[in-house]
Point group: C2
Chain length 379, copies 2
């Protein structure tokens, strides 16, 4: 099934900038962001030392799933945790449980929440739950936004960090105030903590300290952790009992989830103490980008391993500059760009293991080339 396609330099020149950006990225051996390419090595590494005789989990039972769920419950400081095939499934389960509990099929979240923009309206189509959008798309949610809610909601979902705006975060004191307000007013607080580990360094808190502010928590196992796929949902025991039923109804109680669980466990152990480094490196890398002509970052100074790089050029022109530097250096910057209004484009950076494999000299060279390429496009 393997497909390897290597473009010649001639073929690359014939392409649009956007196509070249993708092709040149795919040909790089090193990258600024991420943990390396998403290939079968992630599975192979996780299963290298595992005995072929080790038994599969079976429809949610068995040591392989139960042990990992216990470990994650302890890590998140909750009574129980459940492994899900995806965060999409885990979060719908959580919001349905809280909506049914209160008898109010309405929840509130950020206008750029994953549920609002990336799930084909599943919350409405499958669960008949309405959403109230808090605040403006380019802002993080504040207590004031929540105070201003007019209709009752069963649950508020907070995404930490807010991915679609460069991984911005509320101050920790604001989180505490939101949590206290929700408890006082009988509103459940759910964390979209897909990237929870990524925000612990800036908060200077443990996962269980942050989770204690929330009634339920979702954590992805394939973003910062770098597993294959899957998610963990945590909360009190009664909540997780109900989550198991919704997982089953969604078709997520697979006979075997061990390929994802064992990869999650392996890569969690390998990376759980690396997030401080990713954060430090993200700040250094953002500073390098900010020093370039036409470039700013969002936020100015990252508050996690993530930030967005905004370029004051249309997508096609920005892509051409980036593709050229990728081709020259063999270092991947971005595979694609998004529009950010007229004549502006941006891409996301989420730092992982790959950054530490680059030398200062390689970075100096890359950024000096990128500066010249952007100047040349502008000229």
């Amino acid at each position: 099934m393997e497909r390897e396609e290597c473009m010649t330099t001639y073929e690359l020149r014939e392409m649009s900038g956007v196509q070249r950006l993708k092709e040149t990225f795919n040909q790089t051996e090193k990258q600024l962001a991420g943990h390396g390419k998403r290939n079968v090595s992630i599975l192979k590494e996780a299963f290298e030392g595992v005995s072929a005789g080790m038994m599969s989990d079976q429809y949610g039972t068995g040591a392989v799933i139960e042990d990992f769920q216990q470990k994650m419950a302890a890590f998140l400081g909750k009574e129980a945790a459940e492994f899900f095939p995806s965060g999409t499934m885990a979060q719908q389960a959580a919001l349905r449980i809280w909506s049914d509990e209160k008898g109010v099929p309405r929840v509130a979240y950020h206008p750029l929440s994953h549920l609002e923009i990336h799930e084909s309206d599943a919350l409405k189509e499958l669960h008949r739950i309405d959403s109230v959008l808090l605040t403006d798309p380019d802002k993080v949610i504040t207590l004031e936004d929540i105070r201003r809610l007019e209709a009752p909601v069963s649950c508020i979902l907070l995404e930490l960090p807010q991915r679609e705006i460069g991984g911005q975060l509320p101050p920790y004191e604001e989180l505490e105030a939101i949590s206290a307000y929700c408890r006082e007013h009988g509103i459940r607080l759910h964390m979209d903590g897909a990237r929870l580990l990524e925000v612990l360094p800036v908060y200077g808190k443990s996962a269980s300290e942050v989770s204690a502010l929330f009634d339920s928590v979702y954590l992805s196992v394939y973003k910062g952790i770098g597993g294959i796929a899957g998610a963990v949902l945590a909360g009190d025991a009664g909540f997780i009992d109900q989550a198991k039923v919704w997982k089953h109804r969604h078709g997520g109680n697979l006979i075997s989830l061990y390929p994802y669980i064992m990869a999650a466990d392996h890569h969690f152990e390998k990376r759980k103490d690396r997030f401080g480094d990713y954060y430090t490196e993200a700040k250094a890398l953002a500073a390098r980008f900010s020093g370039l002509p036409l470039v700013t970052t969002l936020p100015d100074v990252p508050v996690s391993n993530m930030f967005h790089v905004h370029i004051s050029l249309p997508k096609e022109q920005a892509a051409r500059a980036l593709a050229e530097v990728q081709e020259q250096t063999g270092i991947g910057i971005a595979a694609s760009l998004k529009d950010a209004g007229a004549d502006r484009s941006y891409f996301e950076m989420a730092l992982g293991d790959a950054y530490a494999e680059l030398t200062e000299a390689e970075l100096d060279d890359l950024f000096s080339r990128l500066g010249r390429a952007l100047e040349a496009v502008r000229a």
Copy 2:
């Protein structure tokens, strides 16, 4: 994470028959049914020759998923196919699409359908689709049952073979008549073909010939095929376009499904031509069981690789006899039993690769011991 528990003979004697049945089964090295134990070897074997650099699928795109889906569409004689994490998810998607198409949220199926007894009412709770139960629990669905339907339904689901009654099947002519009737009356026909490959030998038909009678087909990749988990849904291109959206909404459009897809593909290639043997062996094995005191099989003569073994003894007594023979021979017969009314119990046999590893002498010995053990319990 590995847990190995070996019971001593003394510990085994202290247990109930039902517990001993499970423990002695788990300790066997050989089994009558199945493809061997569900352990990590299924994954390791599939990935042995795969390059670590092979790229993952990505949210439903990429060669690994697209190639397998095309192969399955061709095998099933349909325009398109979609890989799902589970049959539970795939079949809800199918029934929802047909219900929306007709604007009738009502489907009809067997009273022991997987959707009715094993999915926590997902069809109602997630999709608000009602079900009409055709025929009696111990019978297969006939055209007459469908003619008698009073309220309109959007879709009829037929399970081939009907698992919960020992894998019984309608005659092929009955299937053809049902298909013609449904087309004439604007009722969609969906196949729960979890075990479709298992029924091809008795029908003497190809997968695409049987599938041609249906509008949509679901096939499991971890039952007869013996993969890790997952399912294929096939139909026309417009149907599969909609199925992709429902898969996404259910939380089944994982960033990476390759662990399941590559295992499915590997084991499909290995076993797709073996189902005639499993069928022949099932008939031979059922004849051996029928020759024992207190034992009958359902059906008398299997019509697939599957049948049920009914014992005219309460569960605890039957379990004791079976456990004793498992302990003596090291060959697994059953891990558990189900009640079948007062003083009767049964278990399922679904033949796979394991049976061919047993010699005639081992089988003769096992069945003569089992006959004596059942006589002793009865006495």
